[in-house]
Symmetry: C2
Subunit: 709 residues, 2 copies
């Protein structure tokens, strides 16, 4: 809340492109971080004023040194703090008084070693003065366009169009060096550290407005607030790619419901990225490779990928990769084939991959690329080159670039792979300098193209139909929950849970609570035979095990017998059980069993699970997750992405199930658990029976576990 | 057969390390292949005699040129042919007469453009003279240790311990150049081309005996004979790694049985490699990375992998990768942690990954690596280094190497990753030169270690229990098949198929054919009620659709009614159907449904399929394949590797199923289809009901489709 007082993005200018910088803890001793930061600012040719601050020096590296912040006459836009942790709070106060805006804390020894309190005090103090804090426990901020190395990383990164935000400082320093050897360029590197104040979302928000950033590349270990990340990413106008580290580390916490035990970091983060419109990287190489493509090329907005190659082998490998990475090839139409046939020897192939053969010289590449790029059928192009003794890699690189220019096309992506030695590597460097991403293996060029496709797909998903939630009765739901809490319970009975579901428009089976045998008969007649009868008791969670369930009860006599039996069984099962009565429920006709559920994630809040019931959930763990609210597009995607999806589509001669109704129910359910996030910690609808198209679905059993208050 | 006359490996010496070489088609014109080959032999400092052959020159590149092979006075060990395709048959004859042994045909224009006949004639002629043919349509053979570049690739590869065999010539040339930029060394490169005579298996057999080859690396597009490949690989004493290209290309051929439609190149090749003890590569980068590790390091023979790192970020990424690549981490025992704690600052972590922190200098690396390498708990080590401003990458590399030497351990693998810039790259080169594979990303170092683990695992699988097939009655099976063929049929009836199964010891349901109603009653009494009754007719494949099946027939009256009904239904379904009668079958008690099947693959011959029945096979395609014969280890692995495996292990409160009996049945089935490979093209046992441990299983329905003759 305190953050709203400060105009975020304005002050972030003072962090990421400050007009002047004070280095608090500046040192004349090589090897000290306070020395390195001053040296780096000078060596990076920073054009603003640099004020070294150190009470025991008068000059550092040729710059006048000030004993304290107050002594500086001019304005200080940003302060970089390198003094020991215990001094930082005092310095915060001083900086605040001086009117510093950006507070960059390199110093470590705070939250990461358990001292959260000091960290919070610093942020509180800083915010009080209208300052924002980057860090603590960071390497610093580096910017090529700003000619600013305000960090202890040894140099500015290889220049380029991406920005890297890293939660690991050590990795940032290593990647800074690696940007040169890999030839992947960055305008900015941001070390985000403990995120005590400015977090990844704030940084993305700022970078989204930065003219020099064309792709935002993230190394993520975890978020403090997953939802603000999603919100910011959804609004971003440029590609964002994330490598999430630590997907295997999360031990499965003991969870009260089925849903809880099936959630996991990898699944939740994967869904969250997709919902945020963020492209994912699988590993460090992949982060570099995809960042390069996303920072240089437009997205791939259709399914028609054409491959042009001079070698059959690399063509086949690329074809395999295209299928593996979700952009399988199809044959080009006749006219495309006929034209391309003119630019290759007789034994070449104009199908896809287009094999212009090992005899291919520059001209053939130029002609084929120019034609293909301009043809409306082609959505994107991957050009492969296998180094031969008779062709010139550099000339071909220049030819490819020329052909793209001549085609006049700017909204279709191209990626290139050269397999070869030093000549090929040099030609690829030239290509990258000229805006065409190039890779040393055909698979990698395809994977980069797949990233451009993924970007288009996740962005398309954001253009979503609005879901209308009509007839929601929040007050009723809260009342049911409050009553249960008043009863000293932290879970709802099936009847109560279904009432909450019904309050949010979920289709539940008809369902009434009978306290007496006669009432049971009356209710059964009202519903119509056959009926299901189940014990209702907060003390009996596993009703079947207790002998507390009778299905297919066909008449009055049956109801009377069942009532007696269930009561007797339940009391035998748990002598002092608090039995609310017996629920009389319509006997829902057979349908395909699915399960819906929710669990509150520490990072993302309420998340929604969907899967098929029975062995699919129990044996195959064939379930999928989303952060709530689940959009209509995402609900449809959930239904389609489980392995058992063909069952709902109508496998084995069955008619298709009502997936539209199911999608709507998923949206409603997700809305419910989000709306009641303060009340519900976990919930299940299991089973839900899904009927034929147009016939809808029914929630047969329900469970809600309340947040402890 | 003709090949048996020639001592293979002896003559392959003449191909891969010839004592003298004639270049037929040698040319003085730069750019011609005949010129390049002579030049390459000279530049590679080949120490044997080189005889250029060309009727219209007297000297080429300073070497005396001969008008024809006959004119050469000395012995010619190998001839490299570069003349046009139409001349090659004549030259084969001349070379044969001269006593040439190795016949290396670079020339293209044979089988690859459809001219198989000429290719066969050349091989026949060559073999007649005791020559073996490499090619045609190849780049040639390159050997660093042999100082021989007998190819038109421009130079010998970066020197190292692997041998590369490539089915793509263009790729071989490109990889030759790439070996330098990637720093992955090869002693030999072999272009295998059309494999008219010498195929991949022959080459592996030779390389297995070659002192200079420590890892055999394959780029495979397809085999001519998959079985000889498997046989040779199983016997090999050194690691073999294969990249299979074209896994997406195989269109699913229309197949008569279920099994056929589920087979596919990727699945079959994947199984074949595993059965052959061959490690697989997923793409070109992966082939290089894994080849490097396999050529330099021993296999990883246990599950205890320890990671030592100076950076948390790369440690986490490596941990994720370890899980992803099937070698998940566990914590090291207390004593290991206690000792390692001594070699790091307080805030370091001795768990796994062992984080010696960013302050780690060389000494800490040395101490940690030496200790860990020597500790019996540790099976293998991955050392990570994240480039920092305060440490020296080269010094640390030397330290790691020193520590490994000092540990005295030679049978445990180590891989390294440096994330950083040029200094790190140079240090990694140094490591590789000193036998320690090093990679630019932590994931890659883990993947390389996973290759070393995979090598150990696939090799262990080869140490298999022998399966005893007792009571096989092959003659009986052949008689049943012959009778069906005599009947003009190309498939067996259920009864016949089950008889064949029974002849190979498969447990079938009791099963008798009744021709008349009375006979049906008699047989039902013999079997015991209840029984199943099914129409037997080669003209009715889908018995249920025809109303030709009655289950749970409980008494004599039921049998009589069912007999009449089935007969009537069947005739109504197909008026002129040839009805053999009605099979009376024991009603097998309920069990877990599985499916066994076989299909003859063009490359590998009879392959065996296994999966769970019902939705598992029909919706999830949850099946697995092996090339027959399936060993006992492999059968067990098949049962364990399907997604539905927990069902057989006893999921959802069920008792475990009799997996031992199932494994035995898989072996027997595989033996049957291999033994009858000339007769059976496809078959199914579907369903097979598997009972509780010790209770075995029963084949309930069976189908055999015969090879067309």
């Amino acid at each position: 809340m305190r953050r709203n007082k400060v105009d975020k993005s304005k002050i972030l200018d003072s962090i990421f492109q400050p007009k002047s910088i004070a280095v608090v803890g500046a040192s004349a001793t090589p090897g000290k971080i306070g020395y390195t930061v001053v040296k780096n600012l000078i060596e990076s040719k920073y054009e603003g004023k640099v004020y070294p601050i150190n009470p025991s020096a008068t000059e550092i590296l040729g710059l006048k040194c000030y004993p304290s912040i107050e002594e500086v006459a001019g304005e200080i836009d940003a302060a970089v703090i390198t003094t020991p942790a215990k001094t930082v709070l005092g310095i915060t106060e001083q900086c605040g008084k001086k009117g510093v805006k950006g507070f960059i804390v390199i110093t470590s020894g705070f939250g990461e070693v358990g001292d959260h309190e000091l960290e919070e005090q610093i942020v509180e103090t800083a915010n009080r003065f209208g300052m924002r804090v980057l860090g603590p426990n960071i390497v610093g901020v580096l910017s090529n366009s700003g000619k600013m190395n305000a960090s202890f990383a040894p140099f500015l990164p290889f220049n380029g169009k991406a920005a890297l935000v890293s939660q690991s400082g050590a990795l940032l320093i290593a990647l800074d060096a690696a940007s040169y050897t890999r030839g992947v360029g960055f305008d900015k590197l941001v070390s985000i550290g403990n995120m005590s104040d400015i977090d990844i979302a704030d940084t993305i928000e700022w970078l989204n407005k930065d003219d020099q950033t064309f792709c935002i590349s993230l190394y993520v270990e975890g978020f403090k607030n997953g939802r603000s990340f999603i919100d910011v990413c959804k609004k971003a106008q440029k590609p964002i790619i994330a490598l999430k580290a630590g997907v295997s580390a999360h031990g499965a916490a003991a969870a009260a419901s089925h849903t809880g035990s099936l959630a996991g970091a990898a699944k939740i983060y994967g869904s969250a990225f997709q919902q945020a419109g963020v492209v994912q990287a699988t590993d460090l190489d992949n982060l570099f490779d995809r960042t390069l493509a996303l920072s240089l090329q437009p997205s791939l907005r259709g399914e028609h990928l054409l491959i042009i190659t001079n070698g059959g082998g690399v063509g086949v490998l690329a074809t395999d990769a295209a299928e593996r990475y979700g952009i399988p090839l199809t044959f080009a139409p006749e006219d495309v084939q006929a034209e391309l046939k003119k630019h290759m020897p007789d034994f070449g192939s104009a199908k896809n991959p287009v094999d212009i053969t090992g005899q291919a010289g520059t001209e053939w590449y130029v002609d084929a690329v120019r034609y293909a790029m301009a043809h409306p059928w082609v959505d994107g192009l991957v050009v492969l080159y296998c180094e031969t003794a008779v062709s010139n890699p550099q000339e071909i690189a220049e030819g490819i670039h020329q052909a793209v220019l001549e085609s006049g096309i700017k909204d279709k992506p191209i990626t290139v792979s050269y397999v070869g030695g030093e000549k090929s590597d040099n030609a690829m460097k030239w290509l990258v300098e000229h805006g065409i991403p190039a890779y040393a293996a055909p698979d990698t060029a395809i994977n980069a193209m797949a990233a451009l496709r993924e970007y288009a797909r996740v962005q398309e998903m954001l253009n979503d139909k609005e879901v209308i939630y009509d007839g929601v009765d929040r007050e009723k739901a809260l009342k049911i929950i409050a009553d249960a809490r008043a009863d000293g319970r932290d879970s709802l009975t099936e009847v109560e849970a279904k009432q909450v579901f019904a309050a949010y428009g979920l289709p539940i089976t008809q369902n009434y609570l009978a306290k007496t045998e006669d009432q049971a008969v009356e209710l059964a007649q009202k519903i119509g035979y056959p009926v299901v009868m189940k014990v209702v008791s907060p003390d009996i969670l596993h009703k079947s095990d207790a002998g507390g369930v009778k299905v297919n009860v066909k008449d009055e006599q049956g109801v009377r017998e069942a009532f007696k039996t269930i009561m007797a069984n339940s009391k035998a099962y748990k002598a002092n059980a608090n039995i609310h009565g017996i629920v009389i429920q319509e006997m829902a006709p057979w349908g395909t069993e699915v399960i819906l559920g929710s669990v509150n994630d520490a990072t993302f809040g309420p998340t929604m699970m969907f899967g098929l019931g029975g062995i699919f959930v129990e044996v195959l763990k064939d379930v999928t997750f989303r952060v709530t609210p689940v959009s209509s597009n995402q609900a449809t995607r959930m239904i389609g992405e489980i392995r058992g999806a063909p069952i709902l589509a109508g496998a084995r001669g069955e008619k298709p199930r009502d997936r539209d109704a199911l999608a709507k129910t998923i949206c409603q359910y997700s809305n419910m658990v989000l709306d009641l996030a303060d009340e519900i910690t976990e919930s299940d609808a299991n089973p839900v029976l899904v009927y034929e198209n147009g016939q809808g679905l029914k929630v047969v059993d329900a469970r809600i576990i309340l947040k402890k208050k």
